[in-house]
């Protein structure tokens, strides 16, 4: 019942949140004194010709009418047409979404798999050499710029050691489209060559994205474990003679992870934002690269579409996190 209440509550807030997001991005993107139509019309177009084309796309109308039309279209599933590709925005976004999701999900899973145990180790061995080393890694992960790290990885692992591909998502054009996730698609058709290629192409971008995420997860896990260690229930369990490993990995970790899970929800948003840089450096054909190009071209519909889809994903992931938190901690106020 609590979960249902939570779902309904969040869904009620979903639409105003997305509306607010759209309004904000629409306003910002349209008040920038850029003119995508001038670029589209070519360097040789006269001002009259540009004005004609602007009218053709409806950019001559007042902003509130443009916004109303956009929102109405969105409710009908029409995100508009890209000025540059002349294709529906939904088509362009869906073509790129799997690449970004694959990158983000693998990064978040890797960062959690590594970050949580290391966080526990750091807490259990507080102030030991291991803790200091892990703290150094954590601080580095939070401080190093993704852009710099990505180039460093490229120079060392791809250029110097020749261990990984330098860039791209796969050699060639990838397996036949089923879901758009190359790892999954190649597995589904047992195309091991494509799987290996997709896997090896993921290594550097995932490492770049996962490193700061892992550092955050490690920090929160460490803090959570340290907090739980000092609880009375741990003292009680110890007095009951429960083995230490069970106390740490079952009881302490469960409580310690509540904060970490919340962080993972927030990290998802950070990773989506971080993917813009990582996709640019690694030539990863995802949403981040699309967003950069759209912003540079002032392709309004594309910018709005990107915002809508990433905003919706972020809200959905946070909803999922809230539900998980509720499941993990029955005391939590929903």
């Amino acid at each position: 019942m609590r979960i249902l209440y939570l779902l309904v509550n969040r869904l009620i807030w979903f639409f105003p949140t997305v509306f607010g997001l759209l309004l904000l991005v629409f306003t910002i993107s349209h008040i920038i004194p850029a003119d995508p139509v001038a670029f589209l019309a070519g360097d040789y177009a006269t001002n009259e010709q540009i004005a004609d084309l602007r009218a053709q796309y409806g950019f001559d109308r007042p902003l509130y009418i443009q916004f109303t039309n956009y929102v109405m279209g969105t409710f009908q599933g029409d995100l508009g047409i890209s000025l540059y590709t002349q294709r529906p925005i939904s088509y362009d976004l869906l073509a790129r979404l799997p690449a970004t999701l694959e990158l983000t999900f693998v990064s978040i899973v890797i960062s959690a798999i590594i970050g949580v145990p290391l966080g526990v180790i750091a807490a259990v061995y507080r102030n030991s050499v291991a803790d200091h080393i892990l703290r150094l890694i954590t601080v580095s992960g939070l401080a190093i710029a993704s852009f710099w790290l990505a180039i460093l990885f490229q120079l060392f692992f791809a250029m110097e050691l020749q261990w990984t591909p330098l860039q791209g998502r796969i050699d060639g054009w990838g397996p036949d489209h089923i879901t758009g996730f190359f790892l999954l698609d190649s597995l589904l058709v047992a195309d091991w060559e494509s799987f290996g290629s997709a896997f090896s192409h993921l290594v550097l971008p995932v490492s770049t994205l996962a490193f700061p995420a892992m550092a955050t997860i490690m920090r929160f896990t460490r803090a959570g474990v340290l907090d739980a260690i000092n609880s009375n229930y741990v003292l009680y369990e110890q007095a009951m003679g429960i083995p230490q490993r069970i106390i740490v990995w079952k009881y302490i970790l469960r409580n310690a992870l509540i904060g970490t899970v919340t962080q993972i929800g927030l990290i998802f948003g950070i990773l989506l934002a971080g993917s813009v840089v990582v996709e640019a450096v690694f030539d990863w054909p995802g949403l981040g690269l699309y967003a950069v190009q759209s912003i540079m071209n002032s392709d309004y519909n594309a910018i709005m579409g990107f915002t809508l889809i990433t905003g919706a994903m972020f809200i959905f992931i946070n909803l999922l996190v809230d539900v998980l938190q509720g499941v993990m901690d029955p005391r939590s106020e929903l």
Binding site: L53, V124, W163, Q167, W173, Q244, R245, D283, M296
Partner: protein
């Protein structure tokens, strides 16, 4: 809790055992990755050329965009009636074997090659040419504005299957130079995909309806496109050619450079920053080909500003820019000084004119003659194009020494291009390049300083009736020798007027894999036409 933190060795081992499982898994993954080392791509064995391009291939419609960055799909998948080749560029027969011009200069008749076919095997006919020009005019995008005022809708006629006639509104000596921008479509194919009168725009945005040397094989707007050699191309093939070409979007300069050094790519754009060119020159995998291009770098001065009406102020500005330091020190001598409003290597350039040099004493002299108060001077630069920012900073340094209050405004092209069309919003000065769309002096001085281009291609709002008459006469005069005289005179007047600051002629540093041969550079197309390229075995 100290007891827990200070666990016994045995307990620690247990905890570590669990951790070791995770660690082993992680290491296992690393080993798998280790096993997935890059295998040699074998691209050259497949005779496949990969080019890393800085601009995204948003569309495959050759009439949707007319820019330099995305020229590859237009010139490799499509043919025009004529084509610019080599450097200096020569207008060469292509789909048209020959052409006639009527005595009054308004009628251009092209005779098509009878062996030319589209990729689907259907013949290229005059009706396809008519459809293509009408589509360009109707779409009002891309190259359409090249034909504004010269080609009216409905005026182009197919005289017979292989003869097409363009009937211009008025004589134009530059029309022929713009003909290569008319990319010929398979009209039957495109018409069959028209939806709601869209002229096939949606379908053509990701499909191919051309007759070019290569036919589209794969296209992904997120990645780029690949195309296979069109064996039946009307020009035939020698014994050296590529079987497949692939143009990928790689936005990050460093990634393009590393990819080229690593052998992932065989070529990339030839206007990289000098530090990157030096890296490539030092690489054992890469050859850097050098050609003087026709792209010029100059400063647009906004003549709408009251202070800019004073020629002394403009001359002071012209002497205040340190041309030599910029070219020699900042750009490492990688460009050629060009003091004129057109490239060094085009006919009509007044090569004997020296232009302005950096001389702060002269700048002070001229500035002393300026009577009106000088307001804050805004130096515009293009975000993402570091060289414009560097030039603006250098200029700002000199202007500050002269006692002027200045401010640098760096904005992306989409913003700057809008401001350039608005006399109020236009910066006081803007560092910018003028690219080569067609090799005729009109592409530069004829548009940069003609009165009829004010607010469009003339972003300085400079309008001198004497200069304008020379430029207008040159636009309709068919004799190139007479036109050349006009352009030389006009250029000298523009320079004497200090209408802008003319800095350099770009040099193209085309980086290619060492095994790549046969690259033919032309300032129009920037060597991205692949039909002559091959791998040395």
């Amino acid at each position: 809790m100290e007891s827990l933190i200070k666990t016994t060795t045995k307990e620690r081992k247990k905890i570590m055992f669990k951790f070791n499982i995770i660690k082993s898994l992680t290491l296992g993954m690393a080993l798998i990755l280790g096993g997935a080392l890059i295998a040699p791509t074998g691209l050259e064995a497949k005779n496949k050329f990969v080019f890393a391009n800085s601009s995204p291939y948003d569309t495959m419609d050759p009439h949707a965009l007319y820019d330099v960055g995305r020229v590859a799909y237009r010139i490799n998948l499509y043919d025009g009636l004529l084509r610019w080749l080599d450097n200096p560029p020569k207008l060469s027969p292509w789909l048209a074997d020959s052409y006639d011009i009527s005595e009054d200069g308004t009628s251009y008749t092209f005779h098509l090659n009878k062996g030319a076919t589209f990729h689907d095997g259907s013949p290229v006919e005059a009706s396809d040419v008519v459809y293509s020009i009408e589509r360009i005019l109707a779409l009002k995008k891309g190259a359409f504005s090249l034909y504004t005022g010269s080609v009216e809708p409905g005026s182009t006629k197919a005289l017979d299957t292989h003869t097409v006639q363009f009937n211009l509104v008025q004589p134009s000596s530059i029309f022929l130079a713009t003909v290569p921008a008319i990319h010929i479509l398979n009209s039957t194919l495109v018409k069959s995909h028209e939806v709601d009168g869209d002229l096939g725009a949606k379908w053509l945005s990701q499909n191919d309806a051309g007759s070019g040397s290569f036919e589209l094989d794969r296209y992904d707007p997120a990645i780029g496109f690949s195309a296979k050699r069109f064996e039946d191309h009307f020009m035939g093939w020698g014994d050296k050619y590529l079987d497949e070409i692939e143009f990928r979007t790689v936005i990050e300069i460093n990634s393009r450079v590393l990819g080229l050094m690593n052998g992932d790519f065989h070529g990339t754009d030839g206007y990289l920053p000098q530090d990157q060119v030096k890296r490539l020159v030092a690489s054992e995998n890469v050859d850097v080909q050098v050609e003087e291009s026709m792209r010029i770098f100059y400063v647009i001065l906004n003549h709408n500003r009251e202070i800019m009406q004073d020629i002394n102020f403009r001359k002071a500005l012209s002497h205040a820019f340190d041309y030599d330091s910029f070219i020699t020190d900042i750009l490492g001598g990688s460009v050629a000084r060009n003091p004129a409003p057109m490239p060094n290597n085009i006919w009509g350039n007044p090569l004997d004119e020296k232009g302005y040099s950096y001389d702060m004493d002269k700048a002070r002299e001229y500035l002393a003659k300026v009577k009106k108060p000088i307001p804050e001077f805004v130096l515009g630069a293009l975000a993402g194009y570091g060289q414009t920012g560097q030039a603006a900073a250098l200029f700002q340094n000199s202007l500050t020494k002269l006692g002027l209050k200045t401010r640098i405004v760096e904005e992306p092209w989409s913003v700057a291009s809008k401001k350039m069309r608005d006399k109020e919003q236009m910066y006081d000065s803007l560092f910018i390049w003028r690219s080569t769309y067609y090799a005729d002096p009109n592409n530069w001085i004829g548009e940069m300083y003609a009165c009829d281009q004010v607010g469009a291609r003339n972003n300085s709002w400079y309008c001198n009736p004497e200069v304008d008459k020379l430029l207008m006469d040159a636009r309709i005069e068919p004799d190139q020798a007479k036109r050349s005289v006009n352009y030389k005179k006009a250029a000298k007047m523009v320079m004497d007027d200090a209408a802008g600051l003319f800095v350099y002629n770009t040099v193209w540093f085309g980086p290619y894999n060492k095994n790549v041969k046969g690259v033919r550079f032309s300032p129009i197309g920037n060597a991205q036409e692949m039909r002559w390229v091959y791998f040395e075995k």
